[in-house]
C-alpha cells in the first residue's frame, strides 16, 4: 500500500472510531449541541425584543427580525463549541493507553489527528443542522434557494473543519484535559466580539476595528448573506477562505509537530 493510500485508509479507520465514541459517549455531543440551542432561545425570546428594536429598521415584530439577524451568530457559536469538544476529545485521547499503542504501530502519523478532525466536522454539521431546525421551528424563513443552501452547507463544513484543526492543535498543546477545555474558549467569544449579535457599526471604534479584522465576522457575514439568498460580499468571502486556509495549515502543522514530539520522546 502506498503512503497516501494507507494514510487515507488509517484516517478512515480513526474517523469511524471517533464516530463510535460519539455514539457511546453522547454527553459531549449533547452539551455541544445544547449550548447554541439554549443561546438561540435566550437571545431571541429574552433579549430579542430589545435587541431587535435596535437593529437598523427595527420595529414591530422585533424578535422575529432579531431571530433572522442572530441565527448566523448562533451557528458560529455552535462551531466554536465544536472546537471546544475537539480540543477536549484529543486531549483526553492522548491520555489513553490506546494512543500509546497506536504510536508503536506502523500506522500513518496523521491518522489519529485526521480521525478527530473529521469526526468533529461531522459532529459540527449535526449540531448546526439541529440549531437550524430549532430556528426554523421558531419561525425563521430563510430566503436562500437550493443552491445557496448547498453553498452554505459546504461553507460551514469548511469552517468546522478548519476551526477543528486549530482546536485539535490547542488540545494537543495543553498539558491537562482541563487546560484543553479552556483554550478554545477564545472561539466562543469571537462571535460576540464580531457581527454575531449586533452590527459592528454600533460598537466603539477600537472594538469595531477588532470585529472587522477577526475571522468570525467574515464567517458570520458570509453565512448571513447565504441564508438571505444573496451572494456573499466578496470581501468577506475571500477573508473567510483565507482564514480557513490559515487555520488548516497552522492547525495541521502545529498538531503534527506536537503529535510527533509526544509520540517519540527524546
Amino acid at each position: 500500500m502506498t503512503a497516501t493510500a494507507s494514510t487515507v485508509a488509517d484516517s478512515g479507520t480513526m474517523f469511524r472510531r471517533n464516530l463510535l465514541h460519539m455514539l457511546r459517549y453522547p454527553g459531549l455531543t449533547v452539551f455541544v449541541i445544547g449550548i447554541p440551542v439554549l443561546l438561540l432561545l435566550l437571545f431571541v425570546y429574552v433579549f430579542g425584543g430589545t435587541l431587535g428594536a435596535g437593529l437598523p429598521g427595527g420595529g414591530r415584530g422585533a424578535d422575529q427580525e432579531y431571530l433572522a439577524y442572530v441565527v448566523p451568530g448562533i451557528l458560529l457559536i455552535g462551531v466554536a463549541g465544536i472546537a471546544n469538544g475537539a480540543s477536549i476529545g484529543i486531549a483526553q485521547d492522548m491520555t489513553e493507553g490506546i494512543v500509546a499503542r497506536f504510536r508503536s504501530m506502523a500506522i500513518s502519523r496523521a491518522a489519529v489527528l485526521n480521525g478527530h478532525v473529521l469526526g468533529n466536522t461531522v459532529q459540527g454539521l449535526l449540531c448546526l443542522a439541529i440549531v437550524m431546525g430549532v430556528a426554523l421551528l421558531m419561525g425563521l424563513r430563510p430566503a436562500a434557494g437550493v443552491f445557496a443552501w448547498l453553498v452554505l452547507v459546504v461553507f460551514l463544513a469548511l469552517v468546522c473543519y478548519s476551526v477543528s484543526w486549530m482546536a485539535v492543535a490547542m488540545g494537543m498543546s495543553s498539558k491537562t484535559v482541563e487546560g484543553a477545555s479552556n483554550t478554545p474558549m477564545i472561539f466562543t467569544l469571537l462571535p460576540f466580539l464580531g457581527s454575531g449579535f449586533v452590527p459592528t457599526a454600533s460598537m466603539p471604534g477600537w472594538l469595531q476595528w477588532f470585529a472587522d479584522a477577526q475571522p468570525f465576522t467574515p464567517f458570520i457575514e458570509t453565512t448571513r448573506s447565504l441564508l438571505a439568498g444573496q451572494a456573499p460580499d466578496p470581501r468577506y468571502g475571500s477573508a473567510s477562505l483565507i482564514w480557513c486556509a490559515a487555520f488548516i495549515a497552522l492547525g495541521y502543522f502545529w498538531s503534527r509537530a506536537l503529535y510527533e514530539r509526544k509520540s517519540v520522546r527524546s
Binding site: 500500500m1 494507507s6 485508509a9 488509517d10 479507520t13 469511524r16 472510531r17 463510535l20 465514541h21 457511546r24 459517549y25 489513553e96 493507553g97 490506546i98 500509546a100 499503542r101 497506536f102 504510536r103 508503536s104 504501530m105 506502523a106 500506522i107 491518522a111 509520540s263 517519540v264 520522546r265 527524546s266
Partner: protein, 308 residues
C-alpha cells in the same frame, strides 16, 4: 541462529539521571528473553526504546533485521507491544477494539473478521465480545490487550511486566499464551520483577540494575549463582542467622547443614530466592532500591508459595 534483537550501547539520560547506561542485548529469534530488575532499573525504558516510543541518547539496535533509527516504521510493522497499562479503547467493545487493530493492520474485511473471531476464541473473550469494556475484569482487559497486540501476527512481542496485577489463574493463562506464541516461532521480550517468573518462562535472563546489565545467562546459570533455595536458620531465642543459598541437591543441603554449628534445636526453613538474592549474588550488595523494596522483595516469595 538469527537474531531478533541486537542492541549495542543503549543509553538514556533524563536530565542528570542516567536511566540506561550502555546496555547491550541479544535475543535469538524464537526465544524468550526476560529482563529482570526492580522498579526503576530501566526495564520499561528499554522496552520503549526498542519499540520506537523513546529515542535513545546513544546506541543502536536492529530489530527484526531493521535499523531502529533509520527504519522505525519498519520496526513498528514487525513488533507488538503490550505495556503495563491496558492499551485498549475503553469506549469500544472487545470486538470493536480488535477490529480497529485489524483495520489498522490493513488485513482487509474478510481476513480481519476471521482473525478477530479466532483471537476472541483463543483468549476466551467470545462471550464478552460485544460488551463494553467497562464490564470487563482486569484479567479480561489484559487478555484483550494481548489479543490486540497479536492481531497483526508480529514477529517480536514485547511484554512489559505482563503479570503485574493479575490473579494466579490469569497469570497461568498468560504463560500458556507465551508458550503458544513460541510454538508459532514468535520472539518474546518480557520484563519482570520476579525471579521465579523469569526462571519459568525465559530461555535467557538479563539482570538490570540502575540502568546497567549486572548479569546475564540462562535461568540455570543464574540459579547456579544464586542457589535454588535459601536456607533460614532461626535459633531458639529467635535470632535469625545469615541466610544460606543452597543448590537444591541432597548433597548440597547435607554440606550446608553439617557446617551449621551450635544449637541442635534451632529451627530451619526454606524459601525461594528473591530478586534481592539475585542482586546480592551478582553485585555483592542487595538491591539498592529501598523505596521499592516492599513490593519487589515480598511478592516473589508469595508467588512461589501459592504456585509450588
Amino acid at each position: 541462529m538469527t537474531m531478533a534483537i541486537t542492541a549495542r550501547g543503549l543509553t538514556k539520560r533524563y536530565r542528570e539521571q542516567t536511566v540506561l547506561d550502555s546496555v547491550d542485548l541479544d535475543v535469538t529469534a524464537g526465544t524468550v528473553l526476560a529482563l529482570l530488575g526492580p522498579n526503576g532499573a530501566g526495564k520499561t525504558t528499554t522496552v520503549h526504546i526498542l519499540s520506537t516510543l523513546v529515542r535513545p541518547d546513544a546506541g543502536s539496535a536492529t530489530i527484526a533485521g531493521r535499523d531502529l533509527r533509520r527504519d522505525s516504521q519498519g520496526v513498528r510493522g514487525a513488533i507488538g507491544l503490550t505495556g503495563q497499562f491496558a492499551a485498549v479503547d475503553g469506549l469500544l467493545t472487545g470486538e470493536e477494539n480488535l477490529r480497529l487493530m485489524a483495520d489498522l493492520r490493513h488485513l482487509g474485511p474478510r481476513v480481519g473478521r476471521r482473525r478477530v473471531a479466532e483471537l476472541l476464541e483463543r483468549f476466551d473473550l467470545t462471550e464478552a465480545a460485544r460488551k463494553p469494556l467497562v464490564t470487563y475484569s482486569g484479567g479480561m482487559k489484559r487478555r484483550l490487550d494481548l489479543a490486540m497486540t497479536l492481531v497483526g501476527t508480529p514477529q517480536i512481542v514485547f511484554l512489559d511486566e505482563p503479570t503485574t496485577g493479575l490473579d494466579p489463574r490469569s497469570r497461568q493463562t498468560m504463560w500458556e499464551i507465551v508458550r503458544e506464541l513460541l510454538d508459532d516461532g514468535v520472539t518474546i521480550f518480557l520484563t519482570t520483577q520476579y525471579l521465579e517468573e523469569a526462571d519459568r518462562v525465559a530461555d535467557r535472563v538479563v539482570v538490570l540494575d540502575h540502568g546497567r546489565v549486572v548479569g546475564e545467562g540462562t535461568p540455570s546459570e543464574l540459579k547456579a549463582r544464586v542457589g535454588t533455595e535459601v536456607l533460614i536458620v532461626t535459633d531458639r531465642d529467635g535470632t535469625v542467622r545469615p541466610e544460606i543459598p543452597i543448590d537444591g541437591t541432597v548433597g548440597g543441603l547435607r554440606d550446608v547443614l553439617a557446617a551449621i554449628d551450635g544449637d541442635e534445636s534451632a529451627s530451619v526453613s526454606l524459601r525461594a530466592p528473591s530478586l534481592d538474592d539475585v542482586f546480592f549474588a551478582l553485585t555483592g550488595s542487595s538491591s539498592s532500591y529501598d523505596d521499592a523494596a516492599p513490593a519487589s522483595a515480598s511478592a516473589p516469595a508469595f508467588i512461589t508459595r501459592e504456585e509450588s
